[in-house]
């Protein structure tokens, strides 16, 4: 992988004491130290990740109000979700967001990364620039865009005074709210994949591209036959990560539209939040969270199975 080395490097400790006799005591002594070194992380992960993951599954099988009696439900919460028109809509909204956001994000970030190849002066400036909204607090970014989309805000005002067009009320319209959320999210997030792709494109040898050009290959052919095969591992990394994070979209609709109008832009995570902390139905919230987890696991599995067809690790 060119951009980020996520492959697990061999764990073998560099050979220290080669004599066989010294190995066993070393293993035992190291083992004692290892338990000390590992305790904080292991304890923390066990208490704050492993245990809650199992607990989430347990809670999802109960009618679990924040206050009051808990009763075992079996798969009652899951069948409730299946029949809840709001939850169905919420899943559809999330899928719609993903379907719009992921391809657009990849096209924009890859397009810009190819454009901003080594021949462009000051490309480091662009990398830093595009990465800024990735790192700034999401809520602050969304606040800016809320003002931007506001009737009388920059987009509305600009369209009216420069083009004489009445802008729709983006955040209040069921047609425009989702595209507005997607647009904001692209602006905020594409810098991440842009950096991933740029780092990968840097690894493509210029000499190969130049000799292909001398042989008469056009820009598209050069991209297709030289650049693309070399960046497929990064492509795989970027699409997988973007898919996972986009299913978890929360702050953008929460602040831009509060899920509205109606439930037109409510997402799965918003549903989890609403069930848990507005309606205080922890069982239902936990079940919805697990549905999201299963969706994410499924998508990741499909990605990993599908990669054999198009990801090239040999170059």
């Amino acid at each position: 992988m060119a951009a980020v080395n996520t492959t697990v490097a061999p764990t073998g400790t560099p050979p220290s004491r080669g004599d066989r006799a010294g190995r066993r005591p070393a293993l035992r002594r190291d083992g004692r130290y290892a338990s000390v070194f590992l305790t904080p992380s292991l304890g923390g992960l066990a208490l704050f990740t492993l245990f809650p993951t199992a607990m989430a599954l347990g809670i999802s099988l109960f009618d679990w109000p924040v206050f009051g009696e808990r009763t075992f439900q079996g798969f009652g919460n899951y069948s409730h979700l299946l029949h809840d028109p709001v939850f169905r809509r919420v899943v559809l909204n999330t899928v719609l967001f993903v379907v719009l956001y992921v391809p657009l994000n990849v096209v924009v970030s890859l397009g810009l990364a190819v454009w901003l190849g080594p021949q462009i002066r000051g490309r480091q400036v662009f990398r830093v620039l595009f990465f800024i909204p990735v790192m700034t607090p999401m809520v602050a970014n969304v606040m800016v865009w809320r003002l931007l989309f506001q009737p009388g805000g920059l987009i509305d005002g600009g369209l009216q005074s420069w083009f004489g067009i009445d802008a729709p009320n983006f955040l209040g319209s069921s047609n425009w709210a989702m595209p507005a959320i997607v647009a904001m999210s692209i602006w905020q997030g594409f810098g991440y994949n842009f950096l991933v792709f740029s780092a990968a494109i840097d690894q493509v040898p210029q000499s190969q591209l130049e000799s292909a050009q001398i042989d008469g290959a056009g820009p598209l052919q050069r991209f297709r036959y030289i650049t693309w095969p070399m960046i497929t591992p990064s492509m795989f990394f970027a699409t997988t990560m973007t898919l996972i994070t986009s299913f978890q979209v929360f702050a953008q609709p929460f602040i831009l539209t509060q899920g509205g109008p109606g439930v037109a832009t409510q997402t799965i995570v918003m549903y989890v939040y609403n069930q848990g902390w507005q309606f205080l139905q922890m069982g239902l919230a936990s079940a919805a969270g697990w549905v999201l987890f299963v969706i994410i696991m499924g998508i990741t599995a499909i990605q990993f199975v599908g990669q054999k067809r198009w990801v090239n690790y040999d170059v």
Partner: protein
Amino acid sequence: MSETSVVARRVRSSVSHVLLIVVAIAFLGPLVYAVSTSLKPADEVFTPTPHLFGSEIRWKNYADAFTFAPFGRYFLNSLLVAVAGTLVVVAASSMSAYAFARLKFRGREQLFVLFLGTLMVPQEVLIVPMYWLMQALGWVDSYWALILPWAFTAFGTFLLRQFFLTIPAELEEAARVDGCGPFGTFLRIMLPLARPAIAVLTVFTFISFWGSFLWPLIIINSVEDKGTVPLGLAQFVGQQGTQWNLMMAASIMAMLPTVLLVVLLQKHLVRGLLVTGLGGR
């Protein structure tokens, strides 16, 4: 190469650069608009024709934001939580990274796979049981709840382990010969050598604590007292008569530390991708 093709190439390159500047300006538009709004008087935020500048440049908005809402408190809370959380992350993950990279013990590979496996669980699955756990510990609405639950992720361990593996073993050998035990080696050899990787982990962890929103929203009830900056900003959503100029001033101030860190760390952004992409809790 003929002269015309050289000229054609120059022209294409200039056009490309000019277009890129246009793209950059469009990209920066929202931020410029935010800064411009943050410096306008309240009654000039919405004007029929957009203006870059209001009738005056009101720097006072930035001070007013702190009296309009307790942003001073929010900033202190965010700073406390982000610094404490980052310390825990760096300490815990450097220790376990050392164990995975250098110590030999039974079940090491299996344990490491388990570590990486925890990365798959999204935060949204954990929040419900985590809230219940916080209730059980009596930590609802506390700094503990803001700091500890998300301070044990496998990212730091993974990142630092990969770096430790690149450090030549001879250095440790020498230390061992001089009578340094694993703790001494870890503290005096490995940690100083891993400074670049630790810097990356520190900055990106700090930033992820600084921007975290969903969990504080759930666990903090007394926003005026324990609220963080994102929580403070979100308080105003949907309020009647939002003071947009003050809100933009506060948003810009919330962004500034992270912008500064990104610019300072620009050479290491690529390495931070992993922490950011997967560790955004």
